[in-house]
């Protein structure tokens, strides 16, 4: 099967299915793509938590090092991105759980669930970082 998926030089040109660049971007399409991207980002981002916990458990020096790296500007940006990915994937997942019940497939619901995921995740991320900076 795998061999038919690639077009080899010299092979007769076969018609290909329309792909991403053919279709107009819709909110459901954008949220589907973002759900996968945030999921993959969280997969690797888990290492941030593990490194922090292991550093904390192994002594003051390691903790200070991780604190300095995570507290730097780049560190904060990465953690901000992780926070957003976490909330976006959580709300996107909630949307999928709604769909698993068979509800929310009509045009208006799809539109509303998609925008609620996008805006809700940004608001929650903003709130968490607001609490961090003023708390």
């Amino acid at each position: 099967m795998a061999k038919t998926l690639t077009t080899k030089p010299g092979a007769s040109a076969r018609p290909l299915s329309p792909h991403l660049q053919i279709y107009k971007m819709t909110i459901t399409m954008a949220m589907s793509i973002l759900h996968r991207i945030t999921g993959a980002a969280l997969f690797f981002g888990t290492a941030l938590l593990v490194v922090f916990l292991v550093a904390l458990s192994t002594g003051k020096g390691n903790f200070a090092l991780v604190e300095a790296v995570y507290g730097s500007l780049i560190g904060k940006l990465v953690l901000f991105g992780y926070t957003w990915a976490l909330f976006h994937h959580m709300l996107g997942g909630l949307r999928h759980l709604v769909w698993d019940t068979g509800a929310g497939f009509d045009r208006l619901s799809r539109f509303q669930l998609g925008w609620a995921t996008l805006i809700g995740a940004l608001v929650m991320t903003g709130l968490v970082w607001l609490i961090f900076f003023i708390g």
Partner: protein, 131 residues
């Protein structure tokens, strides 16, 4: 039994309900179970991290050593590790079609998920039992 004549599947295959992948709905269901668990656990995790963020070394140790925080962190990392392994498995299966590379990446995926889960578990228990 009347149906058997209209299907190429054996009655035993149909009863087992495992389909072509031989794993039934196990993957799908575990993804959903961990997804549901991850919602409250994620909220708890974010609250714990916010509490940790402003603490010094001794304060951070004391918080992670607290049974409620420790257990919630353990649940979050374990449920998360299972969930992310299933999710990454689907991504690999979608995009990697070369058989050798696919098998290698699927193994790496499992190794990474287990390493993350056990790494965090080791650290949390070490902090908890040290106190």
């Amino acid at each position: 039994m009347q149906q058997a004549s209209s299907s190429l599947r054996t009655p035993a295959s149909r009863v087992r309900g495992l389909g072509a992948a031989k794993s039934g709905t196990g993957h799908f269901w575990l993804q959903r179970v961990t997804a549901v668990a991850n919602i409250p656990l994620t909220i708890a995790f974010v609250i714990i991290i916010l509490m940790l963020a402003k603490r010094d070394y001794a304060g951070a140790l004391a918080l992670v050593a607290h049974p409620v925080a420790a257990i919630l962190l353990l649940l979050f990392i374990l449920s998360g590790a299972v969930h992310m392994r299933l999710g990454m498995q689907v991504i690999i299966e979608d995009y990697v079609h070369q058989e050798g590379a696919k098998i290698a990446l699927l193994m790496l995926n499992t190794f990474f998920a287990i390493a993350m889960a056990l790494g965090a578990t080791y650290a949390i228990l070490r902090i908890g039992f040290a106190g």
